[in-house]
Structure formats: structure tokens, C-alpha cells
Homo-oligomer: 223 residues x 2
DNA sequence: GATTATATGTTAAAGTTTTCACAGAATTGA
DNA sequence: TCAATTCTGTGAAAACTTTAACATATAATC
């Protein structure tokens, strides 16, 4: 059957946020939540919460709300968190290593099973219990192991080549930390973490706020 | 006068992307570009490009297009890249250290001037030429130095306290790498990098694609 | 057990963002 | 120099997203 109707990307982007808040509630021992409670915590309207869930079916009970643990599981299933997934990291620079050491992903079912670099000083050393291998072994590695996601943390000049390589090896997901826009066939998914973009956006708002504050100070002085 | 009319956030989010592509063009020695060329490179329509710029005025020339370097400067000015900005990093774990070592930000005018942690093994050691200081010195540091942005890379349990502290010290921008939703007064800007959220979103699409592929394979076999 | 309060699922309206369409300015080429 | 082409700026339409509204189901209370 497949997907009945295309779920908007923007809704999918919110699922992990719901999941995060539901996990918090669960850990706090709260077993029941209404769309308006959840919305308030997340900073969105209750309508949006209900509308979002409505895309997938009905998880709640009128007059009661949602069972936290059940809803969390439902969203987890939609996101595929019930299944273990594997990642390789290509580029063992500062960022690549930090990600390899970041244990939080494992809890959600994502485990790093290989790290690759071209730097001969790095190749052969270990991160946690994973040996860093030379990039020219990626191909073989992917034939011997099922790899779901490739994390690209190489310098921008190599990004395209690395992406093309992992796509040719049948990897369906790319987590791109370079500032390069990757053009991929539509049977491959890309999620970008554009750090510089995010920082510049923040810079814009900071500028705005600082200017506003100065204006206000100037005004106060006038009076 | 201040902002005439509120520019949509979604437009602001695209400005760094324009900036990035214009920098690329400039580096490739291309001095002229049309909205449709730029749009094609970026994967958006020419209409959107023109509509976005229209929010700020008119930067182009009919029948010609845009001067790459001039447009780049205009967008840089809107983003405030003409001014130097300072950052402190709170939390010198793997991610915090990776960010401190990430030299790319400096090119865009963002420089890390302080790194803080509570781990006594880290305090006193150096990242590049910056000494890691104990968190209890943040307050003094911010009085002696103008800090524009605080980068929060502490464990999630400390996130709120750190945010409250830096807000109380007058910092107007928070770059939040924790999975905590920070509630801040509206004279403070927050940009979030939610790595887990991004990874889960990617996981959803990978699941979808893998399922689709399996379906197709099964179909092929049938025939 | 009946009544009141609560909160979902769902449709419709409002608001936002993207795309379309085109007049007219500037360039290009003959 | 003139005609043809290009391409912006801009208003309007279309598409998408969020919010509002409400019938109805369930829980809580008396």
C-alpha cells in the first residue's frame, strides 16, 4: 500500500520534538498529557499538536488526552526508532570525532560502526572502540556491513565526491555537515547541518536586538 | 526609524544560503548572476529569489541581473557580517572543543574569545590559544569583555542554568546545542542546533526510501 | 446514575509562503 | 540606431500551514 497521502515535511520535522518532550514527561513520571499541555511546553498551539497527529491517525482519547508512553511509542514507530540503524562517519576531524564520541545517538538506535579519514596520522588510531580506517576502504566496508547513514564531515572540497561514493554504494541517507549543497537522486535523503548558516541567522537577530537596546537607551537619556 | 516591516523569519534563514552561494560564485570569478541562475543552483525558484530580495529593496538591474559582489555585500550587511562579533563557549566537551577549533566562523567575523567548563582536568588547558576557564569566572569575564553570543554545549541538565546566567549578564544571542528548549525573554535570540532531531528526521526518510526500494524489488521478482 | 467539565478528531477559516504573470527597464546584437 | 531579448520589481493567485470552531466522546463530580 505505501504512504496513503504525503505527510508535509514540516510535520515530520516536528515529530522528533514531540518525541523529545514526551520522553521528558515520561522520565518525570507523567503518564497523561493533553494537546494543550504539550503545546504549551513546546511553544505551539494545541490545534497544531492535534492537527499534526491527525496526519497519522488518532492516538488520543476525548475527555482524557494522550497516554504519554503510548504516544511516545507511536511517534517512535513512525520515526523508525524501533529499529537499529547504522552510521559511518567520513572525515575524522574535530567535528567528526566529536560526533563519533557523542553517545546520545546510540540511545535512539543510531550506532556508529565505522569512521574514515585520509590523514595517515589518524588512520589506525581509535575513537572509543572504533578504528579509523582509510577512506579507500569505505567501498569494501559497505559491502561487508549494512550501512544506513553516511555522516559527511570532510572539508567542503571533498564533499561532493564522498557523497557520490556513498550513494553509489547504496546508502540511502546522508547527514551533511559541510557547507556544500549536495545534489542527490530522489532515492537518497539528505539532512544538512549548516553551522555557519545557523550562526549567521543568530547574528542577524543579535544585531537587531542590540540596535533596539541602544535606541531605547538613547531615548531614555533624552527624557 | 528601525525595521519598517517585519521580515519573515523564513526569509532571514535563507539569507546565509544566498550569501554562501554568492561567495562561491565570486570565488569562481563569476561577477554577474540572474535570479534564475542563482535559484537553479540553490534549488529554489527565481520568483522566490526576487521576492526574498524585494523585502529589502532592489539590488538588481532589469535585463542584466545582479552584480555578484555587490549583492553579496548587501546581504552581508543585512546579516551584520561587516561587524566583528565575539562568542564564548560554555561546555568544553567534545562538541564544544570541536566548535572552538572550527576556524570557519572566524572568516565570517565570529571569533571565540573564551571557553568555560567545570571539569578541573580541563580548566587551565588550552584550545588553540584560548585557556579554558572555570564556569564561575564567566560573570567576571563578561564584565571585562563585550560578548555577543554564548554557545551552550553543556549536558542538558545544566542548560537552563547556563542560559539564565548568560542572559543575566546581558548577552543577547544564544547558540544552543543542547536538546533543551530554552525559554528566554524576547530581548534575547536563540538559535538551536538539535542534532538528535535532525538525525531522527533523516532516519524517517531513510526508512521510507528503504521500504520503497524493497517494495520495488519484490514487485520485480513477481514479474 | 445523571450532570458537568474536559479534550479529542475534524472541518473550515485565517494567515503565511511560494509561485505565477507581466509591465517595463536595460542589455545585446544586427 | 533600432529591434529583439533578457530579466527585474511587483502585484495577484495558488499552495501550504496554522489557528479557530465545534460536534461528540470520555472522564470526573456530585
Amino acid at each position: 500500500m505505501g504512504q496513503q497521502k504525503k505527510i508535509p515535511d514540516i510535520v515530520i520535522k516536528r515529530l522528533p520534538i514531540y518525541y523529545r518532550f514526551l520522553t521528558n514527561l515520561h522520565q518525570m513520571g507523567i503518564s497523561r498529557v493533553s494537546s494543550s499541555d504539550l503545546g504549551k511546553k513546546m511553544g505551539i498551539t494545541s490545534s497544531q499538536v492535534r492537527q499534526d497527529f491527525f496526519n497519522f491517525g488518532s492516538f488520543g482519547l476525548q475527555g482524557y488526552g494522550y497516554d504519554v508512553e503510548q504516544l511516545r511509542q507511536e511517534i517512535g514507530n513512525i520515526l523508525g526508532l524501533n529499529k537499529q540503524r547504522t552510521m559511518i562517519i567520513i572525515g575524522a576531524g574535530h567535528l567528526g570525532q566529536a560526533l563519533a564520541r557523542h553517545s546520545a545517538f546510540e540511545k535512539e538506535g543510531y550506532s556508529v560502526i565505522g569512521v574514515f579519514d585520509i590523514n595517515p596520522h589518524l588512520v589506525g588510531t581509535k575513537i572509543r572502540d572504533i578504528e579509523i580506517m582509510h577512506v579507500n576502504r569505505i567501498s569494501q566496508f559497505c559491502k561487508e556491513n549494512k550501512v544506513d547513514i553516511a555522516v559527511i564531515t570532510v572539508p567542503r572540497t571533498y564533499a561532493k565526491d564522498v557523497a557520490d561514493l556513498v550513494i553509489s554504494l547504496g546508502i540511502k541517507g546522508i547527514w551533511n555537515f559541510t557547507s556544500v549543497k549536495l545534489s542527490v537522486p530522489d532515492n537518497v535523503a539528505v539532512e544538512n547541518i549548516h553551522l555557519s548558516d545557523s550562526l549567521m541567522t543568530l547574528g542577524y537577530y543579535v544585531k537587531l536586538l542590540q540596535e533596539k537596546e541602544e535606541e531605547e537607551k538613547a531615548k531614555e537619556k533624552e527624557e
